[in-house]
């Protein structure tokens, strides 16, 4: 059986989005206090919520990243990944428009940096997240791809995962 080439696009989308999420989560999960500070730098959430997001985000990134790499619940993992990217794009754009100078904290770090560095980084951060969001949307619409645990283990086609 020959595969549709679109399936391979799905595999690339999974590897890129899943790989980036997994790395981002792993880099942050070892220093959750830092992660909270990175969330606080955005000044978007109530004080207490910054701790919840700061602690929960890295582990969610790791789980969704792993799921995408393995091809588990591909459609839902892709959707969650895309929604996370949309949230990040909103966060970064909002920091930019409010004139905040912050490190996005996407891969650890975070907090205030010089305005020059921040202005230089915002467009690249947003462009990267748009690309990743597109990968997630692709998988939501068309999760079919090679080496997917869904199809082997769960007979995904039949139960509509």
């Amino acid at each position: 059986m020959t595969r549709d080439w679109l399936d391979w696009v799905g595999l690339v989308a999974r590897l890129i989005l899943g790989g980036v999420l997994l790395v981002a989560g792993l880099l942050k999960v070892g220093s959750l206090g830092q992660s909270v500070l990175a969330v606080q730098a955005y000044q978007l959430l109530p004080y207490e919520m910054t701790f919840v997001i700061g602690y929960a985000l890295p582990i969610v990134e790791i789980i969704v990243g792993l799921a995408l790499l393995l091809g588990l619940f591909t459609r839902w993992s892709g959707l969650i990944g895309a929604l996370m990217m949309v949230a990040f794009i909103i966060g970064i754009s909002s920091a930019w428009t409010r004139g905040l100078s912050l490190d996005c904290g996407c891969f650890g770090g975070g907090g205030e940096i010089s305005p020059e560095e921040a202005i230089a980084a915002y467009p690249l951060d947003i462009a990267r997240d748009i690309g990743l969001a597109l990968a997630g949307i692709w998988l939501t619409v068309r999760p079919e791809s090679p080496f997917r645990l869904d199809s082997r283990l769960l007979q995904a086609g039949r139960v509509g995962l």
Partner: protein, 249 residues
């Protein structure tokens, strides 16, 4: 060619296999989802606990007698008409030490002369950057020092004793050395040390971090005049400091 009967049997076998497969699917799905929910739940729970701080277990928590502007007043008797100046610091932040060296004396003079209503909000985020708890312990000690009536001097002494490393402040320094240097003795010293030992200021320390966040202060040192932040890069001299304060007063 199979008889209708035989075909029927085959069909039943296929259906049974499919049912088994979908049961397996359901079990795996539920198991994986349960694991994910549990894992995320644990992180959310720990995050909520971290957000509350360690303060809620503290009985007899104190509010510093000179609590003001989300922090502690340096000159509580200042005239109401004077502009409200708030300095946000972390006792382990090296830039705060530099700020104290450069501008601490001038601000203290202005406070003494009643030109400003001066208070300070102590933050503790350096603990998370450095990986110790010295900012929190020092902030708690400073709340206790306010109870002992020596907040401003204790505050200055903390900066002078900054080590710059990851060791932070020793309990001996915070609990014994600094109060005795500032002339806190007898009954007052006993009260201070009880406050320090029992973390009686920790709730207020947590409140100060929240107050700084709500005032949109995310780095230290930050100086605000009537709620508006001064750009640190504009503070090139003591005259510049006075000009900036005057401009926002």
């Amino acid at each position: 060619m199979a008889t209708p009967n035989r075909r029927e049997t085959l069909r039943q076998q296929q259906q049974a296999a499919q049912a088994k497969q979908s049961r397996f699917t359901r079990i795996i799905t539920i198991a994986v989802l349960a694991l994910v929910v549990a894992l995320v739940g644990v992180f959310v729970f720990v995050g909520i606990q971290a957000g509350k701080g360690k303060a809620e277990q503290v009985a007899n928590a104190i509010t510093p007698p000179n609590a003001a502007a989300g922090g502690i007043a340096i000159n509580p008797g200042a005239p109401e008409s004077a502009p409200e100046v708030v300095l946000y610091v972390d006792y382990q932040c090296p830039a705060c030490r530099n700020f104290e060296d450069a501008f601490g004396g001038e601000l203290a003079t202005m406070a003494e002369d009643g030109e400003i209503r001066f208070s300070q909000v102590t933050m503790t985020f350096m603990d998370r950057n450095i990986g110790n708890d010295s900012s929190t312990r020092a902030a708690n000690a400073a709340v206790c020092a306010d109870q002992a009536g020596v907040y401003a001097d204790y505050n200055t002494a903390l900066f002078l004793n900054q080590t710059g490393g990851t060791d932070g402040f020793s309990a001996e320094l915070l609990r014994d050395q600094l109060p005795s240097e500032l002339g806190v003795t007898g009954e007052k010293l006993a009260q201070f040390q009880k406050c320090f030992d029992d973390n009686l200021g920790s709730q207020y320390v947590e409140d100060m971090s929240k107050s700084a966040y709500d005032s949109k202060v995310t780095s230290t040192p930050s100086l605000t005049v009537n709620g508006t932040a001064i750009d640190n890069s504009a503070l090139t001299s003591l005259d510049a400091l006075r000009d900036q304060i005057k401009a926002l007063a």
